[in-house]
Amino acid sequence: MSVPIRQPRLVWRSTSVLLVVSIAWFILMGRLVQIQWWQRDHFASRATRQQLHSEFLPSRPGDLFDRRGRLLASTVAVQGVYVDPARVVDSYRTACALAGATHQNPTEVQQRILDHREKRFLWIKRRLDESEVDAIIALNLPTTEWGFRQEYVRVYPQGPLAAHVLGWRDIEGVPHGGVEESFQSRLSGESGERTVIRDARGFVIGVKDDETLLPRHGDDVHLTIDIMSQWYLERRLDQLMETHAPVGACAVALDPATGEVLAMASRPVFDPTRPQEAPANSWRNLSIQAAYEPGSTIKPIIVAAGLDRGLLQMTDSLNCERGAYRMGPRILHDHHRYGVLSLKDVLVKSSNIGMAKIGEKLTNPGLHEVLTQFNFGQKTGIELPGELSGTLHPLEKWTIYSTGSIPMGQEIQATPLQILAAHAALANRGRWITPHLDLGIGGERSVAPNVISTELLNDSATRWVVEEAMVDVVRRGTGTKAQLADYRLFGKTGTSQKMDPDGRYSHTRHISSFVCGAPVENPRIAVIVTVDEPTRGGSDYGGIVAAPVAAGIVSDLLTYMQVPADLPSGSESPVSTAGQPDKTARR
């Protein structure tokens, strides 16, 4: 048997093949060692970067409801489209495609992408509508270059109603003003994060559950506001703005027994869904962010305090000096030459001299103590940001002028809400309750932690002031324009002079106000209307400008609340007519 002789050429070929294959294997092994050992960390982190993607999961802010569960503010999800500029291969093509789908200028979009090349995230357009979302999906762009991100948009279904109470949220969801800002910690919740695994083409193939943190959505907040009451109040305020064309106006209605604010509005107003169109002077909630000299509206509080301390008797009479009274170096004047007035008539006719004499009885420390008790010079504590505390000077700064000025509502500044809260305390038989907006968690009407209830005055003093004197203010005094056909009102007018730039009281620019409530025996509602510089309507007295509006609000709200009338129909004075001048009405 013969053994085949291997030809040298064949041996060389096979050796070469073996060598090449071996070298190739060595190269592959070397590369494997390089990847798996030497540069393991580098490639591992690179793979992680490519595969894992963190998604921000925004929390949905809680909703706002009124006291009857009507929706005041809610949130809906919308999509926004973004690109990853560092991964955009062809900026022109991407920009043209996205700009076309979102109705933008392609050149501008491309320029924005080029300007942010080093960034990993760039919004192309936020708050897309459904057609834009569909158009972008149809583009079939590489998913590594772009993406949708869900956002939440705040919507206010009641439109501009209660805008100053609610506040608004900007495009980032940051609250500005109102309960949106003050209840932010309850409303906001906590955002989450989710890590997803993507394949080489950018498609999500899995979610890393162990690294997923689901968002905690915000809690709902139920307010004491009643949107129907709010609507009635704002309607009256709009009519007032039309009739008297003031610089500003505000109105607040609350339940004196609980301190719950039922409605609060300020003019000019803004639309929280279109804040960019709001006039510059519309942001301020005048109910809490405008302090003014309260004028005569403070008089019932001083009289009630005098009665409470035994310095005054209900049967007292005061000599009003025929309209001029020297008090130290200063001569005080009344609008009419009153002689001797009963204590009740001092309030009914709003005599400044009568009040100055009451001030002399209380003395400066007594007056200061009363006003401090009623929280003047301090914030009421309502759950709204930016509340002013007003001005109550320290007793050391008071002079002999103060004894006459303070009881007629000068030398002191207060917000309309402070005045209303003080009058609500009178209506509530001397018990002061923090005006508040929080109805409690889930609308359970648990007492909010910031609500303070304090007994300030005795029952008989406040009852006399409210049921006798303040009722007569409306029946035959400065507030006759506030008379209603069905309800007996108690109230007090106020007309204060504004300051001129030279620091003197203006004789042309006034703030008119009226504070009132009803029914007299068991007040269910207290209302204040404050009008800043009425310019039309022939008069700027509180009894003419503000009183009919406040009475109208009381009438609307009591009717809406189905409170039985306390006057037989047609028994008393005619129904108030907003904006009609009345020569009998005075300060």
Binding site: V155, G159, I227, S555, T559
Partner: protein, 100 residues
């Protein structure tokens, strides 16, 4: 020997197959869970939108006119105070031409 080897092999294959099926089942459950979360989010979103729409449609500023008109037709002479008040509103709105 062959029998032992085959038994071991079958055992290994069975364990692997069981593991794979468990893994597959787990993935399916995870997918179901994710889908349920997604569906819940969608339903919540839909609920929010529908509730929002219903409250927009029921807003006082929008409803009051139709309420006033219906009150007028139901109580033409204003027999109770509420309908009288609504009548007043309707009349005033007509007189002032207020449109909200």
């Amino acid at each position: 020997m062959f029998f032992r080897f085959c038994s071991a092999l079958v055992l290994v294959v069975l364990i692997a197959a069981t593991g794979i099926s468990i893994e597959k089942r787990l993935l399916n459950l995870k997918r179901e869970q994710t889908l349920q979360i997604y569906r819940r989010e969608q339903l919540e979103e839909r609920f929010a939108r529908l509730r929002l729409r219903s409250h927009e449609l029921g807003a006082p500023a929008r409803l009051i006119d139709s309420l006033a008109i219906s009150a007028k037709s139901t109580h033409p002479r204003g027999t109770d105070r509420l309908s009288r008040s609504v009548d007043e509103i309707a009349n005033r709105r007509a007189n002032h031409g207020v449109v909200r």
